[in-house]
Structures are given as C-alpha cells and as structure tokens.
C-alpha cells in the first residue's frame, strides 16, 4: 500500500516536473525526436533499398528454349522434374503458339511482321520454360545443371549469359545496401544515444541542487530518482509520437518522387506498411533511451 502510494506520488511528481519545466522538456523532446527521426529514416531507407532490389529480383528469370522438334510432352516432363528442385520457385511453360501470340501482341499486331511470318509458313518461335529461382545466386547453378543434363541436345539455348551481368550488379547493390544500411544505422544509433544522453544529463544537471535538498528532508534515493525516470518515459513517449508524425509527413512529401519504386507503391506506402514495426521500435528505443539516460545521469548526484 505504502509502496504503491509512493510510486503514484513519484509518478505525479514526474508529471508535474515535466509540465512546470515546459521549455526544458520541449527542448529534450525535440532533440530526442531528431535522433529517433534519423534512426527511423535510416531504417526506412535500408528497408526501401531492400524492397527495390527484391522488386527487381522478381522480374528476373532464365529462359530455356527447346529445339523445334522437341515435343510438348517432353518439355512438360522437364518442367515437372525442375519443379522438384528446392532452389526453383516456379517454372512456366510457354508453348510455341503462346510465344507467337505474345510476340504478336507485343509488336502491336504490326501487319508487316504478320506478313513476314505468313511468308515463312511456320511458327519461327521456340517453346520455352521460364524458370524463377528462390535465390538469384542459384541461377548460375540451374543454368549449368540444365546445360549438362540429358536434355542438353534438346535445348536450343539458355539465356543465362545475357542476364548474368544484371544478376551480378543486383547482387552487388543488395550486399552494399545491407552493409551501408548497417553502418549508417549503427553510426546514427550511436549519435542518437550520445545526443540524448547528454541532453538528459544537462536536464538533470539543472536539478542537481534539488537532489541534495530532497535527500536532506528524508527522501530515499529511489524516491528522488523515480520522478526523473517517469520524466524519461514521458520524453520517450512524446518524442516517439513526434517522430512517427514527422516521418509520416516527410514520406508523404516524398511519395510523388518514389512512385512505383517499391512493391508497396511509394515511400509513404512503405512507411504505412512498416508502421507497426516502426512504432514499436521507435517507442522502445525512445522510452529506453529516456529512462536509461535519466537513470545514469542522476546516479552521480545520489552519492553518500
């Protein structure tokens, strides 16, 4: 009973301090918000890059074209076999007729092309299997296995070589974005921690004489400390809300520039789709930083 009464009192005290030190609270929250904003932005950029790369990856495939004399059943049996590989996510069969109608459609039913095909007398296009891998690193392996398989005589060509450079470049971008994201994230996290810690320390420093007074009138160290811990929580809560709102506004302004870059649409859509995780992350980091900074900063004034 006494404990909960004291806890309630220290909470009320923290709330009153927070209100009466309006400017100081505002300044601390602004700094904490900025730190959180930078962190959240670094996170969004990393996720964004990953999404862009992933978006491109889904558009990548290798196409295996079969000689005109290979019958459909045989191609379908190859498809069936390929379907068992762990590395392969999908195999799509495109018959010669389908390839032709796709081609004609893509050329916009150009009468010249139609006439040329009519003159050849037969469908010049080959039946093919469009293979998509789970991991783009596996394409090389798949191409190699196919070119060395029992069907190698049936295969006219595999367009892996053409795509190889694109694969390599994407792989590089992906790896680099992961590394840069991690480094920037860590650097920003460190900056955020330092700035927040120092700001809270200054806030606590401005109260240093009060700690002595509180102790002299018989307050225990915990009783002196708790209001500041609650203040730290309040800083974190307010800063988190400001950060999320600020991030929403910032990404909304950038929405136009980033249309179509992500599977989700634009940067604002990405923000919305990541909002639950972002909210939780910002809240935990914000409140955590506020509380831990207060806790550590006040320690040096509670000696004796």
């Amino acid at each position: 009973m006494q404990k909960s009464l004291k806890l309630w009192r220290t909470f009320k005290e923290g709330l009153t301090n927070f209100r009466r030190n309006g400017w100081l609270s505002f300044a601390t929250i602004s700094i904490l918000s900025l730190s959180l904003f930078i962190l959240a932005m670094a996170f969004l950029i990393t996720v964004g890059t990953r999404e862009i790369v992933r978006n491109l990856e889904t558009k990548i495939n290798i196409t295996v074209s079969f000689n005109p004399d290979v019958i459909e059943e045989k191609i379908l049996s190859v498809k069936e076999k390929l379907g068992h590989f762990r590395e392969i996510s999908s195999v799509e069969y495109i018959s010669r007729d389908a390839a032709l109608s796709d081609f004609l459609e893509q050329s916009g039913d150009d009468p010249v092309i139609r006439q040329a095909i009519d003159e050849i007398g037969e469908n010049p296009l080959l039946a093919s299997l469009v293979i998509r891998a789970n991991d783009q690193g596996d394409y090389e392996k798949i191409a190699k296995v196919l070119s060395e398989s029992e069907y190698k005589t049936d295969i006219s060509r595999i367009n892996y070589e053409k795509n190889k450079r694109i694969f390599e470049r994407l792989n590089k971008i992906n790896a680099a974005s992961k590394k840069i994201g991690l480094i920037f994230g860590l650097v920003f996290a460190l900056i955020a921690v330092l700035i927040t810690f120092n700001t809270v320390r200054i806030t606590i420093y401005s109260h240093r004489q009060e700690f002595e007074i509180m102790r002299l009138v018989g307050a225990s160290n915990l009783y002196v400390r708790m209001p500041f811990v609650f203040e730290g929580i309040l800083y974190g809560l307010f800063a988190s809300v400001f950060t999320l709102v600020g991030l929403g506004i910032a990404t909304w302004f950038m929405a136009g520039m980033t249309t179509g870059a992500f599977p989700q649409g634009n940067l604002f859509n990405l923000y919305l789709s990541e909002l639950p995780f972002l909210s939780l992350g910002v809240l935990v980091i914000g409140v955590g930083l506020g509380v831990i900074s207060s806790f550590i900063a006040i320690r040096r004034y509670l000696k004796i």
């Binding site: 009464l5 007074i213 509180m214 102790r215 002299l216 009138v217 018989g218 225990s220």
Partner: protein, 236 residues
C-alpha cells in the same frame, strides 16, 4: 533550563574532520547538547560551524572521534536508514534550500510525502504548520514569489513538519534584513519553548547577545568558549 540528569541529545567526542590536502575543518571537538537547549554556534567563516552541523545530520562523517545522537553513533547508521534518521532532524540553511518548482505547500508536503503519509494527513499537518510560521494564504506561492523572510519561514515549516527532536540552522538569517532576522529568531525561540532543541550557526552578534543563551565559539576548528547565558565574545 534542562535538567542535568537528562541524557544529551547530541554528543561530540573528540571529533576531527580533515579534508583532503590536510585541511583541518574541526580539531578534537567535544561538547554535549541537552534536550531543550537553544545554542548559538559562533565563529568566523571557515571556523568549522557548517561542518559541525553537517555531522549532526550525517551529511559529513568525522575523520576521527564520534558523533552520537541520543547515545547512538551517527557513523554506525546504515546508508539505507539515513533518510529515516534525517527525519529526526530539521535543517535550515542560509540559502533556504527550497525546491524551486514547488509551491510553499508542496515544499513542506514533500517531507511528509517521502514518509508515505496519506493525502488527508498531509493537508491537515501542512496547513497547520504554515499557519504557525505565519504563511497562511501563501500556500500556492512559488519560492520566487516570496520574500527572503517568507522563504525562510517555509524552510522552518518544512524543518518542523516531522516534529524533530533537534533543529540545525546554518546561518538561517544570513540573507535576511534585520526585521526578517528578528522574526526568524522569534520563531525559533517559540519552537524552542515547546521543547525542540535548537542549534544555530550565526554571525549576528546583536541577536546572539539578545538571546542570552548558551554560546559555543569555534575558532580554527576548535571550541574556544562554551558558556551558558553568554554573549557574542568573538573578536574579529
């Protein structure tokens, strides 16, 4: 006057305080304070008055010797129990040491809140004590809105709220004009008349002479005079 058969409330036994750098603040100080006494502690700045008072409320510990509160060694009090020990002692300071973000009422109430008293008890007791020190109607004022004398009254009210056995006042009127000084001393005398022991470190010769009570004179960390019904005899 206190009877001789009573046990001292505070006893200093060969107490020395030596700060790093071999700075001697107190040297072999011994004296006793009996319950109900009103003692003036005089001496020039740096004579060791503040250090002596700090040892009573355990803000400082002796380098040598012992300070006893009701025959219990203050040094032996566990750190965890210090807040409880300090509730036996009311402290008053030259710079008032009020919490600037709290109103007069809240400043006094804080000392009870830390004790876990109920809101109703706090309201009654604080209102009563603020009335005693003459601050009725100023409960909601912040320290910056009060005069020096009024701020010191808040501090006196806070010192009184736990019904302490002893009040340690360190230059309580150092920042006050003569009228406010007289008022604070009148207030301390009134508190003393109810039985609370009071020890005041002060510079104010006129007041000490008027009091005509026990005076302990400190010089260079030593007790040079300790006389009942004395006058301010320090020559500066």
């Amino acid at each position: 006057m206190p009877g001789k058969d009573r046990k001292p409330i505070v006893r200093f036994e060969d107490v020395s305080k030596i700060y790093p750098g071999n700075i001697v603040a107190l040297e072999k100080v011994s004296f006793e304070i009996e319950p109900g006494e009103f003692i003036s502690l005089v001496g020039i700045s740096g004579a060791g008055k503040s250090t002596l008072l700090k040892m009573i409320y355990a803000e400082e510990t002796p380098s040598e010797g012992e300070v006893y509160f009701k025959e219990r060694s203050v040094k032996s009090i566990n750190r965890k129990h210090l807040p409880f020990y300090r509730r036996n002692i009311g402290s008053i300071f030259q710079d008032f040491k009020l919490l600037p973000q709290k109103t007069a009422f809240e400043n006094v109430a804080y000392a009870l809140e830390v004790d876990g008293k109920s809101a109703a008890e706090i309201k009654n007791e604080v209102t009563e004590i603020l009335d005693i020190v003459g601050l009725s109607g100023k409960e909601k004022k912040f320290p910056r809105e009060l005069s020096g004398g009024e701020q010191q009254r808040v501090a006196v009210a806070r010192a009184l709220i736990h019904h302490p056995k002893i009040i340690c006042a360190d230059e309580p009127t150092g920042n006050l004009d003569p009228v406010a000084t007289q008022e604070i001393f009148d207030l301390l005398l009134e508190i003393n008349s109810y039985g609370t022991t009071i020890i005041v470190a002060t510079h104010k010769k006129e007041v000490v002479d008027l009091l005509n009570r026990r005076v302990i004179t400190l010089s260079d960390g030593r007790v040079t005079h300790d006389q009942n019904k004395s006058k301010y005899i320090l020559k500066v």
